[in-house]
């Protein structure tokens, strides 16, 4: 009786830890989102709902310029890393030699290197080769460090492809290159789209690498926000943060949805 009773007691400690964990994780975000709607400038007292900080953001040419720049970086990183990452995944899987497996290992290094190291190293490299930091350098850095993600996602999909399908295309008159274009890439399309969206979202809110590799103007949005809060937090920043959050959630949702749009069973979590 006693044991049955004690077993039925709620695990209060576990519940407390869980609540604290999710509280620390999400409360600041909730506060930011809430205060982006505050009608007053205060960051501590909520006075009522208004969209004035969103209006202020859209009227701020500086911030809008940074937003546009961030979108451009993300687009370039997405396209560049997809083209190179898919080609690399095909190469690694198809080359059975030592080179392929070595490349597969080297590929994992960017995923585990602390981003601060990556950032500092990139900045030093650009300085070393005499390349002044600019919009070009930040794009180059973001493309480079996104390739690993694309390749890691795509590699298992490529390995799972039936090699006879590409051979069938060649049997029916395709050259090797045409077979890849007409048969292999369409088969990989869901995984390609999902990783494209993922890269876009990751690069868009990347701060560390962007901070070390971008020029003075224009600044990517996260870097711009960072410099802004050094001179005191404006409620406008809450609005920007909330918008970025919504954008990211929408993109991740889209990435999860893509495979389903193709009527395939695999989801992004399986792809990863």
């Amino acid at each position: 009786m006693r044991r049955a009773f004690s077993r039925r007691r709620k695990p209060w400690f576990a519940i407390a830890v869980t609540v604290a964990f999710f509280g620390m994780l999400y409360l600041p975000i909730v506060v930011v989102a809430l205060f982006s709607l505050n009608s007053q400038k205060s960051l501590t007292v909520f006075k009522g709902f208004s969209l004035r900080w969103y209006r202020a953001f859209f009227a701020d040419h500086d911030l809008i310029g940074s937003l546009g720049f961030s979108l451009r970086i993300s687009a370039v990183a997405m396209i560049g890393s997809i083209v190179l990452g898919v080609a690399l995944a095909l190469g690694i899987v198809r080359s059975r030699g030592k080179l392929g497996s070595a490349a597969g290992l080297v590929l994992l290094i960017p995923l585990i290197t602390p981003e601060i190291v990556t950032g500092v190293a990139s900045a030093m490299l650009f300085k070393g080769v005499g390349l002044p930091l600019s919009s070009g350098t930040v794009m180059l850095a973001e493309v480079t460090f996104s390739i690993s993600y694309v390749t890691v996602i795509l590699r298992s999909r490529v390995a799972a492809l039936n090699p006879e399908v590409e051979e069938a295309a060649m049997d029916l008159g395709c050259s090797r290159f045409q077979a890849v274009r007409l048969v292999t890439l369409p088969a990989l399309l869901p995984a390609i789209l999902a990783s494209a969206i993922l890269i876009f979202a990751m690069v868009f809110d990347d701060f560390v690498l962007a901070y070390f590799t971008t020029g003075v103007t224009p600044q990517p949005l996260p870097v711009r926000i960072y410099s802004a809060i050094r001179f005191g937090v404006q409620p406008t920043i809450n609005a920007v943060g909330t918008l970025m959050l919504i954008g990211s959630i929408a993109l991740i949702g889209l990435a999860l949805l893509v495979p389903r749009l193709f009527g395939r069973r695999e989801s992004l979590s399986q792809l990863l």
Partner: protein
């Protein structure tokens, strides 16, 4: 044979690392014939087919299609098409687009394409499925898509790699008949790979029996069944009773001293160990005729299987023959033996084959 072969393999050899997958294979496949390549798994059937299609280069030897040397031409430059073992259907395309794929590559105009695809879908009984996605098809239907996709290009030679292996027995039987009909209708040379001896015997005009990368025998189904070239073919095609013993002067001595007349062979030294094979259905149990080889044995087992009954008879210590009888007269079994009896068996001398022992 003055006619040029549809396919000629001339001493092709292919190794992977240190293992030889295809070992000095020479074959002539005639235009319009249904040719089967039969052998156990791993004997090099797929590798041979891949060299005809152009997916693998032989280490030595050459591949000729219609007399033209294509040994080093890429697959897209060869007038052959393949039905792959996995079917390799293009999942992102509809059934009609799958079938039209090769025609489109070759720049066949749209109207002609549509017409040929339509006719091909009728031929393989996929009428009305043109717009379906492969994902929604059954295994048998996917197999038909793969067949139509290859045949629509009117290749000189169609290569089929175990196309029916993944189908269940009933569907397989049905497709065997259909494939044969389709082949007659289109008149294309079929090279059909299978490990199923029934399939090879019933479908092919001629077949090559392969073993360990080599061709053991080429011939009509009757040739390889009635006159197997060696012990491997005799054992692999159908069931054979192989008796091993010592040969001397046209007689084979089995363990225990039992001696049988066998076809004599010139140049075979007295005392050689050889095998003699007799098919179970060639052994008689009654109504013996003059000139038959007659022998006595002990009945060990009777296996009744509806249309036929199999008797296992021990004719020498450790040498059992299986004997197949048709149950033409139903009552016959009931008045026959149950086990332990001494019975007489006989076969015509020409039905006993002396096998050259393969190493």
């Amino acid at each position: 044979m003055s006619e040029t072969s549809a396919v000629r393999l001339d001493g092709i050899t292919k190794s992977f690392g240190s293992s030889v997958a295809v070992d000095d294979v020479t074959l002539d496949i005639r235009p319009g014939e249904f040719f089967a390549m039969l052998g156990p798994s791993g004997c090099g059937k797929t590798t041979s087919l891949r060299m005809i299609a152009g997916f693998a280069d032989p280490d030595s030897g050459s591949v000729l299609l219609g007399g033209e040397d294509v040994t080093y031409l890429p697959p897209n430059k060869r007038n052959v098409n393949t039905v792959f073992q996995s079917y390799a259907v293009f999942e992102h395309l509809s059934v009609a687009d799958n079938v039209a794929f090769g025609l489109k590559r070759r720049g066949v105009p749209r109207d002609e394409r549509r017409e040929r695809v339509g006719r091909m879908l009728d031929l393989v009984q996929l009428t009305g499925m043109a717009n379906r996605r492969p994902r929604t098809l059954s295994g048998g239907q996917r197999q038909r898509v793969a067949l139509a996709r290859a045949l629509v290009n009117r290749p000189k030679v169609l290569l089929l790699d175990e196309p029916l292996a993944a189908l269940d027995l009933k569907l397989r039987r049905q497709m065997q008949v259909e494939l044969k009909q389709i082949q007659r209708e289109v008149g294309v040379t079929f090279v059909f790979v299978t490990h199923d001896q029934d399939e090879a015997l019933t479908m092919s005009d001629r077949l090559a029996v392969m073993n360990g990368g080599r061709v053991a025998q080429v011939g009509t189904p009757e040739d390889v069944y009635e006159r197997p070239a060696d012990a491997f073919v005799a054992g692999f095609i159908g069931t054979s009773n192989v008796m091993t013993g010592t040969y001397a002067d046209g007689r084979l001595t089995l363990p225990g001293g039992v001696s049988l007349p066998v076809p004599s062979r010139l140049g075979l030294a007295a005392g050689s160990r050889v095998g003699a094979a007799v098919r179970p259905e060639k052994i008689w149990l009654s109504d013996f005729e003059d000139g038959m080889v007659q022998i006595r044995g002990t009945l060990r087992e009777t296996v009744y299987s509806g249309a036929t009954t199999t008797y296992l008879v021990e004719i020498a210590p450790g040498v059992q023959l299986s004997v197949l009888e048709q149950n033409i007269d139903r009552s016959r079994r009931e008045e026959r033996w149950t086990g332990g009896e001494i019975i007489d068996l006989a076969w015509k001398p020409e039905h006993c084959l002396l096998l050259c022992e393969t190493a």
